[in-house]
Structure formats: structure tokens, C-alpha cells
């Protein structure tokens, strides 16, 4: 199984790359549309600003090819943090920007009383029995975000996190599309386990 991590658009992906390489997966950085054709699994990882990421993906001519591979060819895709937010129809970060729309929903700023933003640090993500969260030692993962994905259909939600009383969707799954709001590549043993669990889900 050849894994391609989309590069050059969403910040430094070195830690995602090396986390997968650690287990000797066949992992590659993808910067061109042609390279997408050769991979079996696509990873969209990173942090940053939603509109900037969309602009960069379009500028590098990856936007339409990604749509084609994920929607048309139904290739498995994993979105991490901003990568998962890109699945939404629209994000309200810095105006209104259209996302891929692979999972219906909106990306909104986290709102609550006297809430400290961004939500940054270790927090618990509780899976609903989804295989993504199989065999975890604890529920702790590393988070770093101010905006969160609010899907239309609750059925796509497979993991939830509570931040100062506000419920945040921390994992989604719909068909060939899986996303996590936290950073498995920065979440030590749990994170590595989740990445391996994901690849089992992708292969099945």
C-alpha cells in the first residue's frame, strides 16, 4: 500500500511522514497531481489558515485532482487537523471559503463562555467503538486549533472531545473519508497506534 502525504500546502508535514516511515510503510510526499495517481492512500495533514490552504492547493493544481481521486476513484483519504476541516462544505475562518465538501458540514470558530483559544494541548478524544480507536492505552491526544468541524450528519462522527464544556468533533468517518482534529503525529504511542489503525481501516 503506497501512502502519499500532500506536501507544500499545509505547513510542515515532516512529523507525519516520519511517523509512518517508522513502521516502514511505503510513504511519499506528493507535490504534483501526477504523483497522486501512483498512491493508494492520501493524507492531508497540517495546521494553518483555511483560506491559505485552499489557495495553495489550487495554485499547485492539486484541488481538482484530489476531488477526482477521493470522490471519483474513491481512494481512502485521512485528514489531520486542518486537513480534516478541508472536508467541509465551507469554513468561516477569515470570511467564507468553500472546502471540498466530501463530508457535509461547516467549519466554525469554537465558541463558549470565557473560552481560551486556541484549544491547544493534550486532551481526551473518546471514540464510539470505531476501529480507529482500537487498543488505545489512554484517550489523550494533542490538539492545536481554534476552529472546529461541525458535520451535518451526526452519523459520521466517530470521536468526540470536550474542551472547557464545549463538545468538539474530534474524528469523522464516511466511506473512504476519515478525519481527525488532533495530531496523531504528535500524540506519542496513541498517535502511532491510531495511524496504524487508520491504515487497517483504509485497507479493508
Amino acid at each position: 500500500m503506497k501512502i502519499g502525504i500532500v506536501n507544500n500546502s499545509l505547513g510542515n508535514v515532516g512529523s507525519v511522514y516520519s511517523a509512518l516511515q517508522f513502521y516502514h510503510y511505503d510513504v511519499h510526499l506528493v507535490s504534483k497531481a501526477a504523483e497522486l495517481k501512483t498512491v493508494d492512500v492520501i493524507i492531508l495533514a497540517g495546521v494553518g489558515n483555511f483560506p491559505t490552504a485552499v489557495r495553495k492547493l489550487k495554485r499547485y493544481r492539486l484541488w481538482e485532482p484530489l476531488n477526482e481521486h477521493v470522490l471519483g476513484r474513491r481512494k481512502p483519504v485521512l485528514g489531520i487537523c486542518l486537513g480534516m476541516q478541508l472536508f467541509a462544505d465551507v469554513s468561516l475562518e477569515g470570511g467564507r471559503t468553500e472546502g471540498f465538501g466530501w463530508i457535509h458540514g461547516e467549519v466554525k470558530k469554537i465558541e463558549g463562555d470565557a473560552l481560551r483559544l486556541p484549544h491547544m494541548g493534550w486532551n481526551e478524544a473518546r471514540g464510539n467503538g470505531h476501529p480507529l480507536f482500537a487498543d488505545m492505552k489512554t484517550d489523550f491526544f494533542y490538539f492545536m486549533h481554534s476552529y472546529h468541524f461541525v458535520p451535518v450528519e451526526q452519523s459520521v462522527v466517530v470521536g468526540m472531545t470536550c474542551y472547557e464544556g464545549v463538545d468538539i468533533v474530534s474524528a469523522v468517518h464516511q466511506g473512504n473519508v476519515v478525519g481527525v482534529q488532533f495530531h496523531p503525529e504528535k500524540s506519542q504511542g496513541n498517535g502511532l497506534r491510531l495511524l496504524r489503525n487508520y491504515l487497517k481501516v483504509a485497507a479493508s
Binding site: N12, G14, S15, F140, S187, G189
Partner: protein
Amino acid sequence: MDVGDPVSQGMIYDAQGADEIIVVDIEASRDQRLVDTRIINKMITKCRLPIAAGGGIRNVEDACRCFSEGADKIVVNTHAILNQKLIGSLAKEFGNQSVVVSVDVKKKPDGTYGVYVFSGMQYVEEDLTTLLRRVVDSGAGEVVVTCIDREGTLQGFDVDLYRTIRNLVSVPLIASGGAGCYDHMVDLFRETDCDACTVGKMLFLRDYDIVRIKAYLKGEHVIVRDA
């Protein structure tokens, strides 16, 4: 004291379940250069935990270089204190959460604390209270306060210091300098409301590891993250 390669040390602490690694080139400001950002990149590719990096950061461009090499947060000390506008511009550019301000202090004979920059070499007139208020107001997301007198002594944290300054710092406050045994951390977290502490020499000397530290703290009802 040379205790080895920062990347391999980082991997050890990661494996032991550290919550975060702070890696700072403490001579960078004094030598008027920036931390070698290749080290940050090596660390983020070898370690699976958040990394705060610093050393010699003078402006937004320097910080940008650290972030593009994969740092999750930056740590600023000397230039955050000497240049009153720096924290504001870093916070505006990268968000408060990514900006950690580190302050080095020494106890004066009268019991108050003096602030030092350039790795403890130069005294600063601005008093600690004013300084802490200023850095938090201008956008520091976290504040690390190091007691130079305790640094490397393994004699315990300056608990009085953190008790005094806690109310001045509305963001997470991290105690640094003096950790030498389990009970130093228990004392710190019982006696003060610090959010975290740093551990350096105590780990370098290899008599302790983070797994056992966390287990001990848990036994003493200090809340720690299970790793």
C-alpha cells in the same frame, strides 16, 4: 555539561512520556545568532510530541524559520524583554498559543527578584512584576520563569517565587530550575498553582525517568497525563 545529542535525548524523553519538549540554544542571543533550526527539524521528525524551540529569536522572520522547520511553539527570552514590541508582533503573526516567553530571575539580598537576559549575563532594570504583566498583556501564551540560583543545583524549585508571581500570570505558568527529586515536584504542585514544571539535569543524570516521575506524582495525587 555536555549530556549528548539533543535529538537522541529528545527521543528518550518522548519514549518516557514527556508532555512537551522545550529546546533552547541558551548561547544564541549572547552570540547574536539564531538557534540552528536544523535541530528543530530533526527533532520533529524523530519525536512524536509537541516541541517548543528557541534561542536568539529577534523578530518575526526568525520565528518564521523555526515554525517552518516544524516547531509547534517558539520560546523567546532576551529579545522579548529588551524589545517591548516583539511579543505583540509575534502573537499577532502566529497566535498567542504559539508564543512562550521565558524569563530568568535571580533573588536579590532584599528578597525581591531581579531579571536577567543574555543567559544570565546582563541585569535588566524593569522589575519582575511589571515585566510579567507586560508580556502577558502583549500576548504571551505561556510563561516559563527560571530561577537562575536554583538552575542545575538539584536543590528544589523556588516555591516562594512561584507563589508570589502566580497571580500576575493569567496564562499557563511553568516553573523551571532546581528539580532534583520527586518530592521537589510534589512540593511545587502542592504549594503553588503552577501549571507545569521543566525537568533538565535531573533527567540528564539518568537516576530518574519520566515514567517513574509521573507514577510518583500520581501516587501523591498530583494530576498528570498518562502516557
